[in-house]
Symmetry: C2
Subunit: 424 residues, 2 copies
């Protein structure tokens, strides 16, 4: 049992006092100080510096410098920003670039991988993967020049990834394994190194989706010798709504893989306007079209905040926040029918926490409407609590849990009808 | 011969006085009143209203409303903005949507078309098409489940599109014809209706790239019964650098075509998170990933200006501007070795004008460095003059031509070394 003291507001405030990252909270725009925002795993907050940077991009670079800004700034931005993301991933700067959406990047790299693995017929994923990744893989196997199949390995409890079953399933027929590092729903987090090692032993490749871990969970792609990865910039990286995604291709693979969506931004000497597609060298060959500059440039200032805080300190606080949340769940919420839909053990858990409840959707609506608490709902019974370390306080977590408690204890959720909730 | 009077500054000013669209110039940010900007065909200017709208998107919708803005505004934006573009194209609102880049959209629709035309083996394009389109087509034919080939029909003079040769080449083997309506270099403009009719007679489909005509040349997709189209929003639509593109699929084809890049934004009931991809009904099925919201929302205010001005008035002024420019070219520039690299006849000419010169690249650099005139250079010998009707005055055209003349007459270009010029 937890001591009562640990479950009081005063204790949360003490934790905030001692938090070495507490000052980062003020680096984000926060017009509504009363809002408890628990959806930064879906859309990160707006960094103040991003607001400033965007004024410059819009008014100065577009408004005044116009087309000249391509040479002066924009053309190099996908590599420059990608290089900063590489730092967070233990990758070389030349291995990461910003391009398109996560789904498009997954398509490009997945199709490139299946084309390279020309005698293999199996792609492995799991059923707790983000559905878009599964849809993309379903599309890819149809386009292979041979009969290929997608093996979707099932989680036993819907919370834990079927890590051992995946390792057992990787065989000499496996073209590549494609998994999301931290699961979007449960926050279960795979051991990248372990799975990658088994894949390589069997001659298979790996393609990791880092969307729900990048910027919150340390990753070392180089140490694990990962082949391919993609990820999202608008969650823990705070790059803004729908900001373009990143892709990683290990250096020695770059010349061996072809981008199937072969547009001019990946062309060698693109301004020579030759009529035959010839891949650019290096990571730029995985570009396709002209990047959306406003959304692209919005990524950089948030990324600089992550680099300033440092991945080790971020993970440290992330662990403390989530352990604290679980402690409060046990004390206040478990007795009210809330289930922990995330792994209890910290080594397999990413930055967010999911709570299950039979009336989860109604509770979510009541929290938003009546308590100014903003988590998100994931069907069928899941409320996700995103608690990004850079701007979430222990007091936020405390107040959120007490709001959850009140909504159920006072039966405030009962009147809410179920509608659709659009959150990403 | 032109009368001397028509080639004097006073005449240009008279034309501006009588221009019914002159007042639109002040609806765009213009910090440097002395700059003659001739590259709006590559990157349109910043509308003042866009600057305001972006402040709202960034500070209010992202900064304050956060994830709630998906429901409140963003989720519907690709269709809402697409519907406004549809008005300019003579299409139904339900036939156009904003997604990805032009190259990615061309890939999606081209691959969908070749998959549908399952017994046909030929794709037709021309050698004056934008190279990215050709690269994408080269990628697509590799992915077909049968041997397919790309026939690149050559322009005889590099200026005029080989319209009759294309019509003659369309046969019962042709899966689809993919052309850019207005050529990026010469401004040659095809007869959409004529080519589409021949394609349909032979059972082939058409995929038009409208990047260099949308917002400047009236298009009637419905009248021509066009199957598929894509286009860019950052040229005459003034949507901002790299703003996401649009795609058009004729209504009766939407259910027949599959999006090969099958991501969650095109999924039916996406928030049910089913594990099997099932296409959404209608135009949304051609979406893939989460759209870049800042760049997406930047499109709408510029589009509203185009709608306010009206396509007929825009084309009228566009014709007048380009005829005036050609008149000045004949008087001032032809004697100095400038060639007209665009069609002389107005019916086959789009909104921009290309001038050729043996020292074109050096002249381009001198204009930028010494004259504050900003056209763009296209290898090997081409200077493009973009003269978008909404913010280009006749005086701009006059001053630009005189600057071209001075740079050559005074041999100011000689000292410029050739480097690379990054413009899109």
């Amino acid at each position: 049992m937890n001591s009562v003291k640990e479950c009081e507001l005063e204790y949360a405030r003490d934790l905030d006092q001692r938090d070495p990252l507490a000052h980062f909270r003020d680096k984000f725009v926060n017009g509504d100080q009363e809002l408890i925002y628990l959806d930064g795993n879906s859309l990160g907050r707006l960094p103040r510096n991003t607001n400033e940077r965007l004024k410059q991009v819009i008014e100065k670079e577009w408004g005044e410098r116009l087309i000249r800004s391509w040479n002066e700034n924009w053309f190099a931005a996908p590599e420059r920003i990608g290089g900063k993301i590489a730092e967070l991933l233990g990758a070389k700067q030349s291995e990461v670039i910003i391009a398109d959406s996560t789904s498009v990047n997954l398509y490009k790299l997945g199709l490139a991988a299946i084309n390279k693995q020309s005698t293999r017929t199996k792609v492995i994923t799991d059923n707790i993967n983000f559905p878009s990744d599964i849809y993309i893989l379903q599309g890819i196997i149809k386009l292979a020049d041979r009969d290929c199949s997608l093996e979707i390995i099932e989680s036993e409890d819907g919370i834990h990834g079927p890590q051992q079953q995946i390792i057992d399933a990787i065989d000499e027929e496996t073209a590549f394994v494609c998994l999301t590092h931290t699961a979007f729903k449960s926050s279960y987090t795979y051991d990248i190194e372990l799975i990658t090692r088994k894949a390589h032993e069997m001659g298979a490749m790996v393609l990791w989706d880092l969307s729900h871990s990048v910027g919150a969970v340390p990753v070392d792609l180089q140490k694990a010798n990962v082949d391919l990865a993609v990820g999202c910039t608008y969650k823990y990286l705070n790059g803004g709504p729908g900001a373009p995604a990143f892709l990683y291709v290990r250096e020695d693979l770059q010349e061996e893989l072809s981008n199937p969506v072969s547009g001019w931004m990946g062309q060698k000497n693109l301004f020579e306007f030759g009529l035959n597609y010839e891949s650019e060298k290096g990571i730029r060959r995985f570009l396709t079209g002209t990047p959306p500059i406003l959304s692209l440039c919005a990524i950089e200032p948030g990324l600089d905040l992550i680099r300033e805080a440092g991945m080790m300190r971020i993970r440290q606080k992330s662990v403390e926040l989530s352990e604290y949340l679980i402690k409060l769940w046990q004390h206040y919420l478990e007795p009210l029918g809330f289930r922990l839909n995330s792994p209890l053990e910290i080594d397999n858990r990413g930055p967010h926490i999911s709570l299950g409840h039979d009336c989860a959707h109604q509770i979510d609506l009541a929290l938003i409407q009546e308590k100014n608490v903003l988590p998100d709902f994931r069907a069928p019974d899941n409320i996700r609590l995103g608690i990004p370390p850079l701007y979430t306080s222990f007091e936020d977590v405390y107040k959120a849990v007490r709001a959850f408690e009140q909504v159920v204890r006072e039966e405030r959720f009962v009147k809410y009808k179920l509608g659709s909730s659009i959150v990403t």
